[in-house]
């Protein structure tokens, strides 16, 4: 099953009990849930940041499409997520060129700095670390994207600097260790 996670644009995580399900009604009315379920789910994820069970059930209730079918779509496509992601997304490219250029070491370095495994989100919901298959910037390999910022020709060392600078900029140095020993 496709496992890699690619999420759409979003403002930030929404706690499950803060969900405003009335927005689902608008989405279902505007969309075409029977003919174009994927587009509807893409919009719903754009709205809520992820697709938690209450949202899925509400889409099912309002559209008449069984929740099981909706879950079938969500679990099939890598773009959809049933868990919220962090406020900041660190995406490391693992395309062939990036792999050959050492993408694994880039992910390891970030993983250590943030204290989170690949595909995971930090406990404070600040960062999500993800891998993507190919961003198409092969000649700048290895590359990564941090929110909207892009970085190319990275080394493990530079990557650590980018991450620690970001942590500092966000005023989180205390939580993540000033020296960047986030895994301790």
């Amino acid at each position: 099953m496709p496992r890699r996670v690619v999420r759409t644009e979003q403002d930030g995580p929404t706690a499950a009990d803060d969900l405003d399900l009335s927005r689902v009604a608008v989405l279902v009315d505007e969309g075409d849930p029977r003919g174009n379920l994927i587009a509807l789910l893409q919009r719903a994820q754009g709205e809520f940041g992820y697709l938690p069970e209450p949202v899925v059930n509400e889409i099912a209730r309002r559209s008449g499409v069984p929740a099981s079918r909706i879950h079938g779509i969500i679990t099939f496509y890598a773009q959809f997520s049933t868990v919220p992601s962090g406020r900041h997304k660190v995406c490391v490219c693992h395309g062939t060129a990036c792999h050959v250029a050492g993408a694994t070491r880039i992910t390891e370095a970030i993983s250590q700095e943030l204290g989170v495994a690949d595909g995971g989100t930090t406990d404070d919901m600040e960062f999500t670390l993800d891998s993507v298959a190919c961003m198409g910037a092969c000649s700048q390999a290895p590359v990564m994207r941090v929110d909207e910022e892009t970085y190319g020709n990275l080394s493990a060392d530079q990557t650590r600097k980018v991450v620690t600078a970001l942590i500092e900029e966000l005023g989180l140095s205390a939580a993540y260790g000033a020296g960047g020993d986030g895994d301790e």
């Binding site: 893409q42 298959a133 198409g136 000649s139 080394s155």
Partner: protein, 634 residues
Amino acid sequence: MSEPVAPAAEPRDDGVRVAVGDAGSKRRVSVCAGTACVFAGSMKVRDAFVAEVEAAGLQNEVEVKIIGCHGLCSQGPLAVVSDGETYYPRLKVKDVSRVVTEHLAGGEPVEKLLYVDPSTGERVACAHDIPFYRAQTRIALRDVGVIDPESLDEYLARGGYEAARKALTTMEPEAIVEEILASGLRGRGGAGFPTGAKWKFARSSPGDLKYVICNGDEGDPGAFMDASIMDGDPHAVLEGMLIASFAIGAPEGFIYVRAEYPLAVRRLRLAIAAAEEHGYLGDDIFGSGWRFHLKIKEGAGAFVCGEETALIASIEGQRGMPRKRPPFPAVSGLWGKPTNINNVETYSNVPWIIANGAAAYAAVGSDSCKGTKAFSLAGKVVNGGLAEVPMGSTLRHVIFDVGGGIKDGREFKAVQLGGPSGGCVPASLLDTPVDYESLAATGAIMGSGGMVVADDSTCMVDLARYFLQFTQNESCGKCVPCRLGTKRMLEILERITAGHGRQGDIETLEALAVNIKKTSLCGLGQTAPNPVLTTIKYFREEYEAHIGEHRCPALSCDALIAYVVDAEACTGCMLCAKRCPTAAARGEKKQAHAIEQGLCIRCDVCRTACKFDAVKIVSGPEAIAAAVEAQAEL
């Protein structure tokens, strides 16, 4: 051939806006906004140009614009100044003011910032004189990197939509199909099925409603040709589809774009809106009575959706799982209607063929394969980027003449073609011509055009493991050979790269591979073993070294290597100790350092930091033991 002739825009009387913008009267700075250049910071360079041009008071004479992928991505961010097509590679924001004051205002190109040809060491001012570009023949990519992809006017000024006009107003649909057949164009998505034959099937299938689909789900990691066309010349795709729609009799179309390509989606949307506004899409196009409506479908992240039946299921809003063929989509496709699916690059060739004639197209290329093929060249090659060469050119031409050879003076080891469905071709086969049949004979495939070059530091077993991990992740799970077979293969490869390979593993891999190829439902499973089979075929000794000697000859597999400091070469500068994230590299100032093996995470930071080449990688139990023993005392 490097400058394909397109018909000039002529005055028209049909009310469609004629498009020769004032682009020609102003001098231009074209900043590459291809993906790789954007990653390298080209948008900041563009902003700097805008600001500096304004500061110099040149805004009425000089236009700063963006272009799609210019091609030589490894030189990004790059910009081209229209005076003599002057090429400025690797521009930094701080360089921009010099280009503006010395070149744009002063009229003298900035010598110091010009491209240096690595083979001669000389500076080259004009983009067309750079070997990377000179060695190419551009048809599918004719306007990519030339025009502003967000401007319909610029596309029209290069003869855009003239081929569609010719097709819709002067040709019979059958004649168009015959023209495409005669051109010899074959599917550029990788399988190489003759495009004209595909159109003919779809045309002759009975049905009032038919569809044309563009497969823009370019999922092969390491391939970005289709992305470059979609975000660099979106109207070429639209025009190719319009011609196909008329030839086949399909009034509705979809472009299915991969989820990871937001820029392509945005530019295609802009292009569709502009084409609709100016009558190139919609009802009664060119007064011919033909109507064509085109929509974009954004993928949601599933590699298997590049397979045509899975792609159709995905457009229908289902899980993107393939189904058995026949019936082929040409008979029963989207919502059960006859459907023609072609790849982005295929459609991009179509307007050129109609404008210049089938004979002109068939004159390019080899006997069995006509025209050109676009490749994305990446990995350990000097000139990474987007390259289009005539079919039948050798791999050597692409990698050494266009690509400029191997980076850092290292040795060519293999080129990986066709991504997870393809294979690795070794140095001994570098003279293989680039065409479907010749590449298939090596065990690799043409594929969609991803070409990743490996040097002696790339481990072939690990590369095979990488691709298997990819296909295993992306297997949709519908058929057993692909779902479970690739899983078993991956487990064996992981074991081998982790140093736990067993005698007989190679034979088991080969047996599994043959069965998976024979029995999988769709192309994903049928080709998934190719990376393993070709690496075993050409680099069997690397597998044997991993299994029998616990040694990685490329010094790449973490479990089989160790980092050590050569006490003779080390000056005790302490740089490695400062950079080491785990304090494994230690030592006193001006004393030889050493790396504590238990703490080392093999992040390579010390080796890249060392200015004296004192940090070495060793592999194999005896070699490691000896090298660790020879290190300074910790």
